[in-house]
Amino acid sequence: MTSTQARSTGVISGLARARKGVGLGGRGEQSPRPRRRFSYRSVTLAALVLPSAILVALIYGYPAVDALIESLHNGNLVQTGMFVGLQNYSIDFHNPVFWQSAEFTVLYCIVGVFGSWIVGLGLALLLRQKIHTPGLFKTLLLLPWIVPVVVTATAWKWLIATPASWVPRLTEDLGLGQVLFLTTPGLAKTIVCLYKVWLSFPFMMLMASAALAGVPDDIYEAARVDGASAWQQFRGITLPMIARSTYISWILMFIFCIGDFQSIYLLTGGGPVNSTSTLIVLSYETVFGNFQTGPGIAIGFVMMVVSVLISVVLFRRIRKVQIA
């Protein structure tokens, strides 16, 4: 064994001992003691956690279990109905509108999450520069997030939906023809996604601003001294340093997007011809528009499972970032 290897072995051994608490002030390696099944401490902890656990179970667990049961029956909102197994899921999976809605939900979430993140991060970086009245800019930029969706969606419709709206009149005056943005599937999808980005970027900007505030300036100074370009600094310092916050904001925005009913319902209602229908809009329409309670709740349950799976994947990424 070389002296370096010996030193390394010594360090590792020391770390292992430290982990076990051996050292100055530590309790040392503990002798095996007979384990009591319920210690006073564990019972106290359980008692403290219990109210919250019950609350969570009632608020989240109960509806989830109830939704699962409903999705396996052919009842309505008042009566459970007959047990039909997976028939409601089969109805949904054989419905082309379900897959059309699923496809748009994916698009809506991707554009909503990453579109708003790019715009939000960009603005957060800009606001780090020395500008006059940054507070005023921040406040103005937060408006889309602060103003109720029903107001902003109505305002957007007022601007674009009818031949008398400002934007169609403008396009007509510019010789581009009368463009009615919510009347064709392609344009309606674009507008709905743009609206979501516009609505959500302030949240991303806030998250990014908070994360950027925690990145020390001296790291950038050191990088600049070493000749790193702005892009290299962004890729090598900024992104890794705000990675944890970024993943959290992605998870939150994904949850906001997949559960966003009001934006779409107010703008297009899911039309034209279901082109902007997401799964949550379809779920609502199936239950309350078409009175198909079982299939509608089945859609909701599928959404919940997918949301949980995606959130778990992203949370695992966060853990990896923390460990790194």
Binding site: P63, N76, V78, Q79, T162, F288, G289
Partner: protein
């Protein structure tokens, strides 16, 4: 079901919990009902002699009607039975459904015909046969326009009693038609010609609203033109039959209007209020809409730019439109069936009788009682009179070729298949048969045909 029965005894059934957690909209009404003693629950129920008749009413017009209705209900007293009024602000069906899930439903409620059949299928409705029998006996029944009561009957009896109709009629802008130099349309050809003339002066011939939410006029247009042509989505046995020849002709007609750009291109994304805006702005000449267009466009019944045309004739010489029957329903949540029946008879006489609100000039629906129609307040409105005389007699529910209403119509009415069908027609990028096949498939998928 064992589980359910057990939890019901515990006082917090799964459904009650779900309803309490999910039905925010119904909470104020439920609280109000609780504070006023509820109905049967607090009064001993099951034939008890005290309690509250909880009357739930929908929003009507400017709210004047609701204010008067509230006063009237509060004044009700029959021994120890009193009345309480609750205004439903939102979707009546959703509110009542959620309340029923919480076992806090109304005793008597106003609503549309399909709703009564839905709740009757669920076992929540008290049949109104005794009320109808009493009305026949005291002569009130004869005061109604013919045929309306029968529409509200299923194999077990009358699910409700009617109080008004909501008829879709064709309206036109008098000034615009004059400006375009065309006469008021009388048939499909002249209707198309009027659209063409309006286009020549830079206006749209027709507007409707086919947004997937908050719109109904688009699907009404689809149903009305089918019915007008002697068609309808169901055959004579109540089975979905969308590809019926007359329906294909009607959709081809609408497609032609759409392809010729006679229809306001925003219609596919409009909500109903956009129709009023379009009419008011003077950029559209005609629309199929409800009887209150003068008020919705900022006028009054006697001072308006809009007028109702006579029902236009189809190429087969038929006429028709779509109509919804407004009615009062009695629910199982009651101090006693007799108390509910007594209240309903009293309310019906007060509200829709000739001495009722119509005589005060307050009209929430097209009247269906001859004594109310004869009132000078009603006769003073020329468009309303025209609707009563010419449109109501040829109007039908969405079951159309099938003589009766059934609960499946609630699924069809403005449901996804109908919305999808009219949206594809308004976009003009489909064929009549393809659009109707989508509708047929949707109706079959949702099992919305009549079930005996």
């Amino acid at each position: 079901m064992k589980t359910r029965a057990t939890s019901d005894r515990a006082g917090l059934s799964r459904r009650r919990f779900l309803a309490a957690a999910g039905a925010g909209a119904v909470l104020p009404i439920v609280l109000d009902a609780c504070s006023s003693g509820g109905s049967s629950g607090s009064s001993g129920g099951g034939g008890g002699k005290s309690g509250t008749i909880s009357f739930w009413d929908g929003e009507v017009g400017t709210g004047q009607l609701n204010t008067e209705a509230k006063k009237l209900t509060a004044a009700y007293k029959d021994g120890n039975i009193k009345g309480s009024y609750n205004l439903m602000t939102g979707n009546d069906y959703e509110i009542i459904e959620a309340a029923l899930a919480a076992n806090k439903g109304p005793t008597v409620a106003g609503g549309y015909a399909y709703q009564a059949f839905q709740f009757a299928d669920q076992g929540d409705i008290l049949y109104a046969d005794n009320v109808v029998a009493a009305m026949k006996k005291n002569g009130v029944y004869a005061d109604y326009l013919p045929g309306l009561f029968d529409q509200l009957k299923n194999s077990k009896g009358y699910v409700a009693i009617p109080y008004g109709v909501d008829t879709r009629a064709l309206w036109y802008n008098k000034k615009l038609l004059t400006q375009a130099g065309v006469a008021v349309p009388t048939d499909w050809n002249s209707f198309m010609a009027a659209c063409k003339a309006l286009k020549k002066i830079g206006k749209y011939g027709y507007v409707t609203a086919a947004n997937s939410s908050n719109s109904a006029y688009g699907t009404h247009t689809l149903a009305a033109f089918m019915i007008n042509n002697g068609g309808g989505m169901f055959d004579e046995t109540g089975k979905a039959d969308c590809l019926f020849d007359r329906n294909v002709e009607a959709v081809e007609y609408l497609l032609e209007m759409s392809k010729n750009k006679y229809i306001d291109p925003g219609s596919v994304s409009y909500i109903d209020t956009d129709v009023y805006t379009a009419l008011k702005s003077g950029r559209v000449g005609m629309a199929l809409a409800n009887p209150t267009i003068p008020q919705e466009t900022g006028g009054t019944p006697t001072n308006t730019d809009f007028a109702v045309m006579s029902p236009i004739k189809s190429p087969h010489g038929t006429t028709g439109t779509i109509q919804y029957l407004k009615n009062y329903q009695m629910y199982t949540n009651t101090p006693s069936k007799a108390a509910s029946e007594k209240f309903l008879q009293w309310w019906n006489q007060q509200f829709v009788g000739a001495k009722g609100f119509y005589s005060q000039g307050i009209t929430g629906a097209v009247p269906i009682r001859k004594s109310a129609i004869a009132l000078p307040q009603v006769q003073a409105d020329p468009n309303l009179v025209k609707i009563i005389k010419e449109w109501v007699p040829v109007a039908k529910p969405e079951s159309a070729r099938y003589a009766h209403i059934f609960s499946g119509l609630a699924t069809v009415d403005n449901g996804t298949p109908m919305v999808q069908c009219i949206q594809s027609i308004l976009q003009g990028n489909t064929t009549a048969k393809a659009a109707l096949q989508t509708l047929q498939t949707g109706i079959q998928q949702y099992g919305a045909s009549y079930k005996a």
